[in-house]
């Protein structure tokens, strides 16, 4: 059986709730290189969301004028959501780091291209909510209206005022 068929992301309504309940975000694997996707996502999170954003990368000292932390354990807060931009082989170690935090973050989020059903089940068993193979920027823009302005199909049907 294809393992990718054994695990599904939370539905759109739940993803919207996760984003609404999130105040602090740690970007693990954030890059100082402007041509990397993580750097590009960071520019969006800083400019277009109210999130408090922390960068984690042992090989960088400053990203977009902000400090970079060597590990999740060194952050001044426990983030609500951990957004991971690392190679597939590193994901298990990142989850170990997340599970060592006290209290636990609420959401373990893996970016585009990262999907590991066994890892997701391990995270869920420990009490984390998991989103995989989704871009935090795209999902935020889907519900905040930015994606709509760019002509994309947000799937949002509502007779209530936006916002």
């Amino acid at each position: 059986m294809n393992p990718e068929q054994t695990w599904e992301n939370p539905p759109a309504v739940r993803r919207q709730q996760i984003l609404a309940e999130t105040r602090t975000v740690a970007m693990v694997g954030a890059s100082a290189n402007p041509s990397r996707a993580s750097n590009f996502v960071a520019t969006y999170l800083l400019a277009s969301t109210g999130y408090e954003v922390y960068f984690v990368n042992p090989n960088a000292t400053e990203i977009l004028g902000r400090p970079v932390y060597r590990s999740l354990a060194e952050l001044p807060v426990v983030p609500d959501l951990v957004d991971v931009f690392r190679r597939p082989a590193d994901l298990s170690g990142v989850l170990d780091e997340v599970l060592a935090l006290d209290p636990l973050p609420r959401t373990f989020w893996l970016q585009f291209g990262l999907f590991d059903a066994d890892l997701a089940r391990r995270a869920e068993a420990a009490g984390l909510e998991v989103v995989m193979d989704r871009c935090l920027k795209v999902e935020h823009a889907r519900f905040a209206g930015g994606l709509h302005l760019a002509g994309f199909n947000t799937g949002v049907i509502s007779s209530r005022r936006r916002g």
Binding site: S35, Y44, R161, G163
Partner: protein, 443 residues
């Protein structure tokens, strides 16, 4: 927030035809989509402007690239076609040009159906050929013939779901298989079907183009086009360096690397629409939106009228042939039933027999028919609320010899009809009296 109580729901087509893309805005609560008749948008500050220009945040800069009224139509059309998103354009022709311009450059190659709409043929064969993009036009609909035309440098396969006016139906799934085996996207013009009758993405197409001017707008008032993408094609497969190489005008980002499944449409908007400027106006988007809201009801009525007219013509001895794939005699009747189960649209052709029952050469009879219609409008468009007729041999193709007309698939006796929403009895009355006038007179 009320959305929190909302359940995830797969909304129906008719619901999305009136709701998708138009969540009431926070500031005014306007229920209908407002017409944002403005060229440009005030930045919050210099950081805001810089981030917008670098595509780091979503937002509005200048209406050539995006406008909120146009965005509403784009999301609605993307939703109806089952795509990831859409880019609207000034016309169907410009939707095609932007797509070709995004996919191909000088030295590249396109494989296209030979039976395409004439304007698409000339865009590829004249303008794009002069720009160095070569096109092979493939007769017929056999996917193997399209596969044989693919060569190094080919960038896409292009076909129409239903050809105009021959009524050939593309084998979308077969073409998609051929295209994907070569690492290429399948582009389908679905203008005559509209998403109500066929959604090519469900059959494997990667990009869908419509002239929104036609049945989607539906009232013959407004030009517009749209490009919808499925969002499932692998633009990083090595065949599309324009998607994977750094883009200097946007700080070295790459469309595929930075935007992934949103990359193609982001490029189409931020690069092709920016550079070509074939933009849909806000007022046009508003007018077209009014049409889209009744698309399901109108298309059902168009198809019902078209079926009645086609069957009536088919049974009339003054008519030599009818090219409606809804008729069992059409060679693509079964394929039409597969891809367009609710009916193959409302545009087709028929031949006016010469007095005495001559099978061919009815150029004069066709012209007399056109001169005699009283309800059907003689003009060069399809997909109006009104019934439209055109005699190619005396208008668009009048310079061709009878032999050339046959080669072009446009016999001299051919009338193209786009069946409208009138009472079908009235359409039949007009066709009947015009056929009488055309076939009784002796030349």
């Amino acid at each position: 927030m009320s959305e929190r109580q909302q359940q995830d729901r797969a909304w129906g087509f008719r619901t999305r035809a009136v709701h998708a893309g138009t969540v009431p805005d926070e500031a005014t609560g306007s229920r209908a989509v407002p017409i944002h008749q403005t060229t440009s948008y005030v930045f919050r500050d210099t950081d805001d402007a810089a981030a917008l220009f670098a595509l780091q945040k979503y937002g509005l800069i200048y209406s050539r690239i995006a406008n909120p009224t146009v965005s509403a139509l784009e999301e609605r059309l993307a939703s109806l076609d089952g795509g990831i998103g859409a880019v609207c354009t000034a016309s169907g022709q410009s939707a095609e040009f932007l797509t070709f311009a995004a996919l191909a450059g000088a030295g590249d190659h396109v494989v296209a159906a030979a039976g395409l709409y004439g304007g698409t043929i000339t865009q590829l064969d004249v303008t794009l050929r002069r720009f160095g993009v070569d096109t092979t036009f493939v007769p017929g609909t056999d996917p193997a013939d399209y596969a044989a035309a693919i060569r190094p440098g080919t960038k896409c396969l292009f076909a129409e779901i239903v050809s105009n006016p021959g009524g050939e139906v593309a084998d979308v799934a077969g073409l998609a298989e051929v295209a994907h085996a070569a690492g290429l996207p399948l582009v389908v013009d679905a203008t005559l079907a509209t998403p109500y009758l066929c959604r090519p993405i469900e059959h494997g197409a990667d990009i869908v183009i419509h002239s929104v001017t036609k049945f989607l707008g539906g009232h013959g008032t407004t030009l517009g086009g749209v490009v919808v993408e499925a969002g499932t094609f692998d633009w990083g497969n090595g065949n599309f360096p324009g998607m994977t190489e750094p883009v200097p005008s946007y700080g070295g980002l790459t469309w595929w690397g930075n935007f992934k499944e949103l990359g193609f449409l982001t490029k189409l908007r931020a690069e092709q629409l920016r550079d070509v400027g074939a933009t849909l106006s806000a007022h046009s988007a508003f007018l077209l939106m009014q049409g889209v809201e009744t698309l399901p009801q109108r298309m059902a009525a168009h198809v019902a009228n078209a079926r009645r007219v086609a069957e009536w013509l088919d049974a009339d001895p003054r008519v030599s042939y009818v090219t409606y794939p809804g008729l069992p005699s059409h060679p693509h009747h079964e394929r039409a039933a597969r891809y367009l189960p609710d009916g193959p649209g409302a545009v087709f052709a028929f031949g006016v027999a010469e007095p005495g029952g001559q099978r061919s050469g009815g150029r004069a009879a066709g012209a007399r028919f056109i001169e005699a219609v009283q309800l059907c409008s003689h003009l060069a468009n399809v997909g109006d609320a009104r019934t439209l007729v055109l005699h190619p041999a005396s208008t668009t193709h009048q310079q061709l010899t009878p032999q050339q007309l046959e080669q072009a698939g446009v016999p001299g006796d051919m009338i193209r009809i786009s069946v409208g929403l009138e009472d079908p009895e009235d359409i039949l009355w007009d066709l009947d009296q015009a056929l009488t006038a055309a076939t009784e007179e002796t030349p």
